[in-house]
Structure formats: structure tokens, C-alpha cells
């Protein structure tokens, strides 16, 4: 059976039973096996229903914003959740001592819709083995390339494990350097084609705020994008540009690349291509090797006397 899941249930159960946390955040059973849901266990019984398998998709870190108010919370953290927590701590929105982190080594989450489409039928289980994913269906096990099955955000992931944890469910996996292939491809287009690309995607924006409300960096008490002086409630393309420009700039140097915004977007806007552009330029202009990992000195909260004038080179490299 699923040993990781059993171990997690036992750790979370003990934490709750011992009163070390008042709540444990993980995944629980959803509509179908391929769609576990965010789960908030308040006692050992509820911890006994925790799910930990390759279908665990939604990002969890942002929930800490609400759930640490009443007392310490436990959380099962993949790399993305760990960085999200670091973001909340760096922004002084959550106290690190208010969170008990159970670190895991994540090999990527399977996208339930991609899996169903590939399998052509409901999928009951999945196993990520290196470069392939085995899906369990009523018609037996089917194998597909990893790159076809995982959530978009997991394909670009460089952080399988959190950087720190209070306990480890398993041996953490080392982090890697992020690549920005998608950004580079878009940079190669001409201005009009780039604009057409973004106009087409942003035209679909519903301004539902799913991206903002999924984001561990969008943790402000009040959001300027709710202020009609900054952004009226009109929903024209120019408003959507304003929204997404501002959102992306506000997380520039702060985005932890968890990709939850893009996963949450109901209309398929490639939001990470916006966030990653800032990341890539921060890396290149300000020599910050891993701009998505919260730094002691926030990239936009500091300067160096030798900073380049990025707009001068910008003309050529773009």
C-alpha cells in the first residue's frame, strides 16, 4: 500500500493528539481518486483520512495565512509549499514558529484532466517513475511520458523538497536551478507577435482573482487591485493588462514559482510566463542565482551601486 501516506497519517495524528498543532493541512479524499482536496485535520480521526499520492495537486502554503491565527498548524510540504511558507514568513504574515513542517520529496503531481484525457477514461491511481507515469484505470495500467501527465507547474519545478522542515517524511531531494525556456521562446518573437500572444490570453481573463488568491506572495491585508483608483471594475483588455502587469510586478522578486496561480486560472492564462520573465531578468541583471527562493535581501528592496541599466541592454536582448 501507500507507505508514505500511512506515515504521514501517523505523524499528523501524533502532532494533533499531542496538541503540538491545532490543525494539520494536507490533502483528503475528493470527488474521485484523481482529485484529492485540501484537507484540514483537527484530530487524529481526520488525520487518518489524509491522502498523499501523485494526484495531490493544489498548493497549500497560502492556507497558512488564515489557519495559523488560532494556533500552530502542521502542514505537509513539498518544495513549492515550503517556499510559499518562506514567502509568508519573509513578509511577516506567518510566524515560522507557528508552523510545523512535514517535508516530503515530491516527484511531481499528475494533472487529473491531462490524465483522464490521455487514458480516455477515469483514472484511479498514478505512479511517477522517473520519466514515465503509470496510470491505473479500469482497463489496466497505462504508461505515459511524465511531460504529458504532470501539472504544468511541476514540469518546471526545481524544488522537490522544502529547504527546511521540522521533520522529514522521507529523504529530501536536492533543489536545482530553474530554466526559463518558455520565456526565452517568447522573447524571440517580435513585439507585435508578443503582444498578440498576451492579448489573446488576457482577453479571456475573468478577473475572478483565482490567481491572486492562490498566491502565497499576494498576501496583503488589502490589495491595490481592489482599489478602483488603481483598477476600475471594467473588464476590457486594457484593464486586464493593468491587472496582470501589476500583479506580476508585485510578485517580482517575491514569486516562489509554485505555479499555483496558473494552476488555479480557469481560463488557461500562462501566468508563470509573466512571473518567470521577472525572475529571469532579476537573475541576469542583479546576479541573483535563484530569484524564486526568498532571499535575505529582497531583490527589489535593495540595490547595488554597480547595478546595470537594464533598459539599455534590454533593447538588444529582447
Amino acid at each position: 500500500m501507500n507507505e508514505r501516506q500511512a506515515k504521514l497519517r501517523s505523524i499528523a495524528g501524533s502532532l494533533l493528539a499531542e496538541g503540538r498543532v491545532s490543525l494539520f493541512i494536507g490533502f483528503g479524499p475528493g470527488l474521485e481518486p484523481s482529485r484529492p482536496v485540501p484537507w484540514f485535520a483537527k484530530n487524529a480521526d481526520e488525520a487518518g483520512k489524509l491522502v498523499l499520492d501523485p494526484f495531490c495537486g493544489p498548493g497549500l502554503a497560502r492556507y497558512l495565512l488564515d489557519e495559523t491565527a488560532a494556533g500552530p498548524a502542521g502542514i505537509v510540504a513539498r518544495g513549492c509549499d515550503g517556499l510559499g511558507l518562506e514567502r509568508l514568513v519573509a513578509d511577516k504574515r506567518v510566524g515560522r514558529d507557528q508552523v510545523y513542517v512535514v517535508g516530503v520529496a515530491c516527484r511531481g503531481a499528475v494533472d487529473p484532466d491531462k490524465a483522464r484525457r490521455l487514458a480516455g477514461r477515469p483514472v484511479f491511481g498514478a505512479e511517477v517513475n522517473g520519466e514515465t507515469v503509470a496510470l491505473t484505470t479500469a482497463g489496466g495500467r497505462l504508461s505515459f511520458p511524465r511531460s504529458d501527465c504532470l501539472l504544468d507547474r511541476c514540469l518546471a519545478c526545481a524544488d522537490p523538497s522544502p529547504r527546511t522542515a521540522d521533520t522529514w517524511l522521507e529523504e529530501p531531494l536536492p533543489g536545482a536551478q530553474r530554466e526559463f525556456e518558455g520565456v526565452e521562446a517568447l522573447e524571440k518573437l517580435g513585439p507585435d507577435d508578443r503582444y498578440a500572444f498576451w492579448a489573446r490570453h488576457l482577453e479571456r481573463c475573468l478577473r475572478c482573482h483565482a490567481c491572486r488568491n492562490a498566491c502565497p506572495a499576494c498576501n496583503c491585508v488589502a490589495c491595490s487591485l481592489d482599489n478602483p483608483e488603481w483598477l476600475e471594475r471594467t473588464t476590457g483588455l486594457a484593464d486586464h493588462f493593468m491587472f496582470h502587469f501589476t500583479r506580476a510586478y508585485h510578485v517580482a522578486g517575491r514569486c516562489v514559482a509554485c505555479g499555483e496561480c496558473q494552476r488555479a486560472c480557469p481560463v488557461g492564462i500562462p501566468l508563470m510566463l509573466l512571473n518567470e520573465k521577472f525572475m529571469k531578468d532579476i537573475r541576469d541583471l542583479f546576479a541573483v542565482p535563484d530569484p524564486h527562493r526568498p532571499q535575505e535581501a529582497e531583490p527589489l528592496g535593495h540595490f547595488s551601486p554597480d547595478d546595470p541599466e537594464g533598459w539599455r541592454e534590454g533593447d538588444e536582448t529582447l
Binding site: Y195, A238, F245, D281
Partner: protein, 140 residues
């Protein structure tokens, strides 16, 4: 594009350097195109990047952010934050599809009236060539 069309440039000018430089251009009677309209701010570090987008949204054909030369900031470090912010913002705007000529960051001191006039002339010429901006602009 009609023959009478003239570009509209919104400029954010730090009061100590660029705004004073523009005043000097005035006292020196340096002629430059009327396309530019300045907004006086205490420091280029005050200029929120979303102000720039707002200008494009509302119909600016070009936007200029200008302040003291690095090292000369009245507040010591404001323009060094400007440099960081707008290094990113400039590239980001272009990434969204804006033509590079439409957004400029310049260091113009209080003594550089000529330079201010020159930047406005250059920008206006570039924008006349590009024509009206339609990108990220709301429909009227």
C-alpha cells in the same frame, strides 16, 4: 494615421533634477516638441511602475521616467531603486509587446536642459514614426 496626429508623451520628472532641467530648457528657450507633459514627483523612486501602465492604458503613446544621475539623488538612493525597478519594467513592457521606443528611462540633471530637450525631440521623432499606440490602451 492622420496628418495632424501628434504623439502624446507622459513624463515623470524628479523635482530636483529632471523637472529643474526642463525648467532650465525653458529659461534657455530651447525649443522642443509639445508632445511631452511632465508630472512632477519628489524623486524618480516615487514612480510606481503601474503609473506607467496607467499612462499607456489611458492613451499615452510614450512614457518617460527621468531623475537624477545615479550618485546624485537628493535622497541618496531613490534613483538607485529606480534603476533596479525600471531595468525590470522596461524589459517586461517589451516582453508584453510594447515597442522599446515607447518607454524610456533617462538621467537628466538640473543642468542638462539641452539633454532634456534632446530626449523629448528623439522620443517624439521615434513615436511619430511608430504612430499611435494601441497596445494596452483602452478603447475610447
Amino acid at each position: 494615421m492622420s496628418l495632424t496626429w501628434e504623439p502624446r508623451i507622459v513624463g515623470f520628472a524628479c523635482r530636483w533634477c529632471t523637472y529643474a532641467g526642463a525648467d532650465l530648457a525653458g529659461t534657455s528657450r530651447l525649443e522642443y516638441p509639445a508632445a511631452i507633459r511632465l508630472i512632477r514627483v519628489p524623486c524618480s523612486g516615487r514612480v510606481n511602475p503601474s503609473f506607467v501602465l496607467r499612462a499607456f492604458q489611458r492613451g499615452a503613446d510614450g512614457v518617460l521616467v527621468a531623475g537624477c544621475h545615479p550618485g546624485d539623488c537628493h535622497y541618496t538612493s531613490g534613483n538607485l531603486f529606480t534603476r533596479r525597478r525600471y531595468s525590470l519594467v522596461k524589459r517586461f513592457l517589451e516582453y508584453l509587446g510594447m515597442e522599446p521606443e515607447r518607454f524610456r528611462v533617462e538621467w537628466i540633471s538640473a543642468a542638462e536642459g539641452h539633454r532634456f530637450a534632446q530626449v523629448v525631440r528623439e522620443m517624439t521623432a521615434d513615436l511619430r514614426r511608430l504612430g499611435p499606440n494601441r497596445k494596452m490602451r483602452e478603447e475610447t
